[in-house]
């Protein structure tokens, strides 16, 4: 079954001096997020940006895929802590995404965890959608 998720954005004025807002999304989970070119390409000053939203989408998708992969091997995680950092080069686009994950997974060794993380990086739907990013790297480790 196909699932649709919608977002609505309003932009006022031109690119450089104008500003926009992510007004609403299907779920209602967030809304009223301001965006601007200055905040996107320089200091964010508390404002989100397309790249931060991509980072959030990717970290969330990766974490879910990894929990699924670990469970399949009989090692459901207690906790996964994931960060995604998206590098944006104005005029060029997204040039790099770095994913870092630390997991609490009973009964699993480091090498198997790294392998499962690599699989999740390759196969999660957002990774597939962003496969055109020149570099997507991953660091994975188990924590106490």
């Amino acid at each position: 079954m196909a699932t649709d998720r919608k977002a609505e954005v309003t932009w006022r004025g031109d690119l450089m001096s104008g500003n926009g807002r992510v007004d609403s999304v299907t779920s209602g989970a967030f809304g009223g997020l301001d965006v601007s070119w200055a905040a996107r390409s320089e200091e964010p000053n508390g404002l989100t940006s397309p790249e931060e939203l991509i980072a959030a989408a990717h970290a969330a998708c990766f974490s879910m895929a990894l929990s699924g992969g670990l469970a399949k091997e009989g090692h459901a995680p207690e906790e996964l802590k994931t960060s995604a950092t998206v590098t944006f080069q104005p005029g060029e686009g997204v040039t790099k995404i770095v994913i870092d994950v630390a997991g609490r997974v009973p009964g699993m060794d480091d090498a198997a965890f790294k392998q499962a993380a690599e699989q999740a990086k390759e196969n999660c739907p957002v990774s597939k959608a962003l496969a055109g990013v020149p570099e997507i790297s991953l660091t994975a480790r188990l924590q106490g």
Binding site: T3, P50, M64
Partner: protein, 150 residues
Amino acid sequence: MSRVQREANVTWEGNVARGSGSISGATGAFTNLPYSLATRIEKPDGKTSPEELLAAAHAACYAMSLAGELAAAGSAPDHVDVRAVVTLDQVEDGSHRIVASELLARARVTGINEADLQEVAEVASKGCTLSKLIEASAKVTVNAQLEGGS
């Protein structure tokens, strides 16, 4: 212009079917947004998902690109409304794929007709980093309309 980095953090607890996670942006613009598998692929019940975040990223990216292209064409907009709808679907092997992102833009702008607006809207998609990325594996469509006549 120099490179910029944006970070987000996620905590996930438990297995995929019954576990849940929480999503935060490093800027603090959004924090602790809950998500789960059930609300990702069925009814959202107020919870966001990777695809919804991607839709928000695409709409925001495209709105900036369109505002820039309209200004470059000599018709800076009063405002532009952009809707992005991202579709996640199950493919033959049973896995889920993002198969489409549909953009609908409504622009309040003077000095441009609807046909020219559609042309600028296509150029704006080519200039939007997310359109380019998603297009490699999914369908990106762009429709543009004038708001309130020209």
